[in-house]
Symmetry: C2
Subunit: 355 residues, 2 copies
């Protein structure tokens, strides 16, 4: 795959399989790494950033992990391309702005990606469908080991991996899980549960990571602490907490089914009815309605739609995807029309006679 | 038909045929009549009101116009029954409260009805689908003539028919038309047009007559003046004005098609999507969405649904109809569930798996 094809490529993590995939959308692990003897990206000079990028890109190629995927410099991408990578959860908001010498590498299935010269020289990421941090760890760990054959990482025997921001020092690892919690939201229990999650030392964020809004009842839960613990300890403590959250969500859904089923069916039914028949729809409304539809499928009120299609729609309906797909810049009104059209097409026929 | 069957009987005026039925829902003429030598109902004593009712009911039977329909005393009806007759537009809100000696007669097709001892001794009404005041007049006039064989109406050679309220003196006639004006509302031209209608001496009311709210873009336009004009003059002046309103509405719809089609399709599509998939819906939302759906059908964006079904739903989804149909009193929440179920059934299958 070259970069041109990425817009149409479906990321593997959108397949909606994997353990607990009725509640957990995806699992993600990222590692922060830096090259010994070079300043961190934001402190580096023009030439040293370029130099380090070339060293890293050459190493990435050698690993063989990006065959069928792509490795590309951020300076070679348009603003829409960059935005599209953000929408696919392959790069961060910070990487959009783009340091000198920034680049990105993405594997064939989009499960593995690397940001070059974001906050650190390297940010490795593995993203998989469902609740499987262990598998994420196995892949990222083997990739990290392979990479160490070609790169000399900044490492302190006392502290562990050195990182640009002290909150990442140690393992340099952030493990996070994207969970869909409409049951807890509808039962008005979400704040209680999230407060407990925070107290247990985890962070909670929105659909697009740090500082982003909670949309579509989607929450990202991740570890705060990277230092003084082994990777497997971090992963197992996050897993324990998430197991509890999943149980609470499952209970809430059953409570809703028992005590407010008409309200639940109304919410799900209206979401389906609007998504399949609207001709103008905003990103925010789309995400909220897709969340309700996803709940309807997970609770088996709705059948005959592929869950992967719903997951894909969360991404394909974002502004940059819509514009790249259309091949032109679109103002928000025009995007609302295209978005509604795409959703109707993906979900099946609507009622209006299109002349 | 006896009274028990009326809940299921479809009034002929709901058939959605007739001239200009894409805009005019129904035409209605009513005549106010009083019996010579008796006080008006609200000034009548108990016995005289009862006496006059018996005289009138006996005359109504003799006419033969109510074969297959029913003649019933209001005191024999439950509150829900009365409410249902109001919802069917067969009696007025005032008649709900019910003077001593009040009664109602309805013809087989519901096109002809009489309220006994409402504001006047007799209020005759003819109601037909589409824009056909002439036909309404022909029917009510022949019925009125027939009735005069058995009853002696209070009539002054100078003033005409005498009525309880001076605004009805003369012809005693009110001609009205229920028009659906979503185009003018969406184009924000409705106030301008309605102001012109008022200036031309007509009155504008909502879905349930005097003092009722404008719901679902449905307007009742009627004559104000009953004195000093012949009936055919009143009818032809109302017809001239309505022809203009219809033309404006038609132009507005074409403007919407040309300049804001996506918005229009969005409104119609969402209405269809919600109506066919909701599990809880209020009367007000129902009327608003049925209005949009009706527009969609009249503008040929939606096909495969019978317009009569939509007209019928305006009536069947009202509170008393729902409760009589279910056979029990229902609180508003329970009605919202029944209403949604009825609509889904009438409009075809929905997406939710009902277990």
């Amino acid at each position: 795959m070259n970069f041109e094809n990425i817009i149409d490529a479906k990321s593997e993590w959108l397949n909606a399989d994997g353990p607990n995939s009725d509640i957990v959308i995806s699992s993600r692990i990222r590692l922060a790494r830096n090259i010994k003897g070079y300043p961190f990206p934001h402190r580096g000079e023009h030439n040293s950033n370029i130099e380090i990028m070339e060293i890293i890109l050459s190493a990435l190629k050698k690993t063989g992990f990006f065959k069928g995927g792509f490795i590309v410099k951020m300076s070679d991408l348009s603003d829409l391309d960059k935005q599209m990578l953000l929408e696919k959860h392959l790069i961060s908001k910070e990487h959009l702005i783009g340091q000198i010498g920034s680049a990105v590498a993405v594997s064939k299935n989009h499960d593995l990606s690397v940001m070059v010269n974001e906050e650190d020289h390297l940010r490795l990421q593995v993203l998989k469908a469902g609740f499987r941090l262990d598998e994420c760890w196995n892949l990222i760990n083997s990739f990290d080991s392979e990479l160490e054959k070609y790169l000399d990482f900044a490492f302190s025997p006392n502290l562990g991996y050195l990182t640009s921001c002290p909150t990442n020092v140690g393992t340099g690892m952030r493990a996070s899980v994207m969970i869909h919690l409409p049951g807890l939201v509808l039962m008005d229990l979400i704040n209680k549960v999230m407060q407990a999650v925070l107290k247990l030392g985890l962070a909670v964020r929105g659909f697009y990571g740090e500082g982003s809004e909670i949309l579509g009842n989607l929450f990202q839960v991740s570890n705060q602490i990277t230092l003084g613990k082994k990777e497997y300890e971090i992963i197992s403590s996050i897993t324990r907490v998430l197991d509890l959250v999943i149980e609470h969500e499952r209970n809430s859904r059953e409570m809703l089914r028992k005590t407010g089923e008409e309200k639940l069916k109304d919410r799900i039914g209206r979401a389906y009815g609007i998504l399949t028949n609207a001709y103008l729809i905003s990103t925010k409304e789309t995400i909220a309605l897709l969340s309700a539809l996803r709940l309807g499928m997970d609770m088996e009120y709705i059948s005959g739609i592929d869950k992967g299609t719903i997951n894909e729609l969360f991404i394909l309906t974002q502004p940059a995807h819509l514009q790249l797909k259309t091949g032109q810049a679109l103002d928000p009104d025009a995007r609302d029309i295209k978005r509604a059209k795409l959703i109707r097409e993906k979900l099946g026929t609507n009622k209006i006679n299109d002349k």
